[in-house]
């Protein structure tokens, strides 16, 4: 396998003009909130950089993350991702299959040992020896540990790889865990979301190629540039929340007038993501703009946090039944205590001895 050509050569071959390339760099710099002059710096760095080898492992996932990346309309920044990197293994996208596909992965791992980027989508099942998800007869755990050894960095794409996601949801029958639960000695960046925003994946890779390092991360390992604020912070319906204007159903006058979806279960206030600013489908909109509340998909345990349609103040567990049982328990306890009191009173009354003249004489 020969050394990959530079990104500029590759783009030139594909007929991408220098102008389009600079636009892409400016967009990346803006998205990541870098200083104004950094677009040219990104361009200079990206032009020279050798396209890194990328191995993409898909575990317990629904291919939604790959869909998100590839199904965005063309031409997009997202499509350029495949020109920026050499995607040497991705079992959904590659032409090769069977032994040839696995051979491609092994070749890339050998050739670019210590230099390749490992992208993972999907969680890893650990229960029963990891039998619940295998590729070419090998468990996900086995493949991940092997591929992680030679990786320069790991990008966990989507909430399943980042936090365990849906497979990890209660009762977690396969014992699914996140990449970071297994790999402890490599830099890991979590790009959460179900699916994550395509531009975020592109942005993180552009940052890595430009600066040779991962961007600043929050306490959950997510790039701060995209996950630094909540959906609620940047929501265009925020003024409605402040004014206390809440839609009560999905079809009332409030909903039609774009009132806040808080009471319809929107998890925007507790969800960190860039949906409200970067948006989806080429900037068309995001779920709240389409009239549906945020379901909090870029946060850990989002599937277990109660109904998507229950407002945040509503309990995440059945409190009503507990309270009903508590009323009975409290009443029973009170009746028992009352009976004991009454018993003591009666006993005291019965054992009371009347004062007699003889008693007085004895004094």
């Amino acid at each position: 396998m020969k050394e990959h050509e530079t990104l500029e050569q590759r783009l030139h071959e594909q007929g991408v003009s220098r102008r389009s390339f600079l636009k892409f760099c400016a967009a990346m710099a803006t998205m990541m909130a870098l200083p104004p002059g950094s677009a040219t710096a990104i361009a200079a760095a990206l032009a020279k950089v050798k396209r890194p080898s990328v191995i993409w492992l898909s575990f317990q996932e629904c291919t939604g993350c790959t869909e998100s990346l590839t199904r965005s309309h063309s031409p997009t920044l997202e499509s350029m991702i495949f020109d920026m990197v050499s995607l040497d293994y991705h079992h959904t996208l590659q032409a090769a299959s069977g032994f040839a596909a696995e051979q491609a992965r092994e070749d890339a791992m050998k050739e670019f040992n210590g230099k390749y980027l490992l992208l993972v989508d999907g969680s890893i099942p650990l229960k029963d020896g990891g039998v619940y998800s295998t590729i070419a007869g090998r468990t996900n755990l086995d493949l991940l540990e092997e591929a992680a050894k030679g990786a320069a960095a790991i990008v966990a794409v989507g909430s399943c790889a980042a936090f365990g996601g849906i497979p990890n949801a209660n009762p977690n029958p396969t014992g699914a865990v996140a990449v970071s639960d297994i790999i402890k000695d490599k830099p890991i960046i979590n790009i959460s979301g179900c699916p994550p925003i395509p531009a975020v994946i592109t942005g993180v890779l552009a940052h890595y190629l430009t600066f040779g390092a991962l961007p600043a991360l929050d306490n959950l390992g997510r790039p701060k540039a995209f996950y630094g604020e909540t959906i609620h912070d940047r929501c265009y319906r925020r003024p409605m929340y402040e004014q206390g204007k809440f839609a009560k159903t999905f079809d009332d006058e409030g909903a039609r007038n774009g009132w806040c979806l808080y009471e319809l279960g929107c998890k925007g206030p507790t969800t960190h993501n860039a949906c409200a600013t970067t948006k989806w489908n080429g900037g068309t909109g995001f779920p709240i703009e389409a009239g549906h509340g945020c379901i909090g998909c870029s946060e850990p345990k989002f599937w277990d946090a109660g109904s998507f349609y229950a407002p945040l103040p509503a309990p995440a567990a059945d409190v009503t039944t507990v309270a009903k049982a508590a009323v009975i328990a409290g009443a029973v306890a009170a009746v028992v205590a009352g009976a004991i009191d009454r018993g003591k009173k009666t006993k005291a009354q019965q054992s009371r001895e009347k004062l007699t003249v003889d008693d007085l004489k004895g004094e």
């Binding site: 507790t270 103040p313 507990v322 009352g338």
Partner: protein, 218 residues
Amino acid sequence: MEQELLLWVRGTGLQIAAAVFVIGMVYRMLHILMLGRKKSLAAPRGSEWSGGLRTMWKRSFVTTKLSARGNFTVVAGFIFHIGFFITLFFLTQHIDLFRAVLGLHWPAMPRGVIDMAAVLSIAAMVALLVHRFIDPVKRLLSDYQDYLSWILSFLPLLTGFMLLREIGFEYITLLTMHIASVELLLVIAPFTKLAHMFSTFIARWYNGAVNGFKGIEI
């Protein structure tokens, strides 16, 4: 971690708090009622019922008769309680909670009213605490329960106001703190002076009923 904490206070934590609060309150209130009173053998000069009910209602308002306790305490205490009730029962988010738990709901008050009620309530509480420190009689009468009750009632108000305005911390942190502070209040309330949230009505009833029986004008 933050999400897990929030999930816990919204789920298991709330279940525990609700169970302790309801068991504790039902037990204590029923227990008080079951103690009962010895039947008076005197001829009644008035109605127990009318006296009891009228007292329960009338003592909910500031009257000149109460000023013997000190106008400041009465007025500031009244402002705190009214502010507390308004924020507790008329904030949209709280009505959402009642609807989810009890199935009952009612119209909310505008955010401006809630904000004002919360600020007045917080200010009244601070003023009452300062007064408790300054006034020698009150200071002598206060024990740890008074300060504990103050803290337990103040924290939900303060964190709630911070949450509405997103002051100091992120929404998720404030929401977790707010719910946790309410749960702390729920767990401790039945076993301290805070049980007066229910027992005060029993006390008023007995007071009023005794007076009514004796024919005292209420």
